[in-house]
Symmetry: C2
Subunit: 188 residues, 2 copies
């Protein structure tokens, strides 16, 4: 592996993390190398830096492209493909969440809805269905919230995240201000 120690540490850790999240180690490493690189890299440069086979890099890049996580670029007078990550880390987060939702959450919601529509006979099945209903509602709540969040521009998103639970305070204030006097505030 032909990398400065600082970068190497990061790349190895990132590959490791990747494999805990169902992403193949090399794919994670390729992404890490691109992420810290000053400029787009071609496949051979990645091979050099990581010390893995050319074909492995080719497959890894293909996977990253399928996930929309890298951008392909060309330089004038050079036929090779150059790859880069988006400069904006928020763009990366958005893509990651979006793709993961598309591949895993949405199909799960579909499956849950289908199972909830079935007529069942036994008590055990009725109980199972009730549980699946709870899970379905949870997923719906999260995807609904996410759907709202992704529409916000990054500054506002940061603003909200930074406020954190303080939003709650603002909501209480709103309650007090809008229903003057009345029962506002903590009631649930």
């Amino acid at each position: 592996m032909q990398l400065p120690p600082l970068v190497q540490t990061f790349v190895l850790h990132f590959g490791e993390m990747g494999s805990r999240w169902g992403i193949n180690r090399t794919v994670g490493q390729i992404y890490a190398v691109l992420f810290v690189s000053e400029r787009p890299l071609n496949a051979d440069e990645i091979v050099e830096r990581l010390g893995v086979s050319r074909s492995n890099v080719s497959m890894g890049l293909k996977e990253l492209q399928a996930w929309n996580l890298v951008r392909l670029q060309h330089r004038p007078g050079d036929r090779r493909d150059y790859f880069a990550t988006p400069e904006d880390v928020w763009q990366i987060v958005r893509t990651l969440v979006e793709e993961r939702k598309k591949r895993e959450i949405d199909p799960t919601l579909t499956m849950l809805r289908e199972l909830l529509m079935q007529e069942v006979g036994t008590e055990a099945e009725r109980h199972a269905q009730a549980r699946l209903g709870e899970m379905h509602d949870l997923f719906e709540l999260f995807t609904g919230w996410y759907d709202d969040m992704r529409r916000l521009d990054t500054d506002r998103l940061i603003q909200l995240l930074t406020l954190g639970a303080k939003v709650q305070k603002v909501l209480e204030m709103k309650d007090r201000l809008t229903r003057f006097g009345g029962r506002g505030g903590k009631g649930d």
Copy 2:
């Protein structure tokens, strides 16, 4: 696999999802079976339902216990261990996020902080460090937000998630209302 078709579909899907998130398929299936069960189950009952070996179930249950995702119970006059998931799905979410943070996010933040403290020589390394800084700040923002959220009780959490981006509207209103008292507004 000895399960009603409805449950079987769910269990298989859940196992599949698990393996995409770095959780072994059987462990996912065991969890799914416990999740929809009306009552706590002992290891042999899980073996029956899933048709996998007793030792496999034993290892799976051990892993789920290490993740705090199942509760062990005993019945009077029965030496066997019975396992159940929490009844409250929100409790499940909280545990999952907490454990994942502890195992993956926190160590990553530690690593990033260590790399950011290093003095480096080359331009490439300085650029890499800047990128790691961006990633670090992103992770900090998320964990800070999460730290706020986890303190909220479930009803308030649901309230916030349901509002979604409408919170933004309330914040704007707050801005308008507080501005003419002095310090209000966008500043942080």
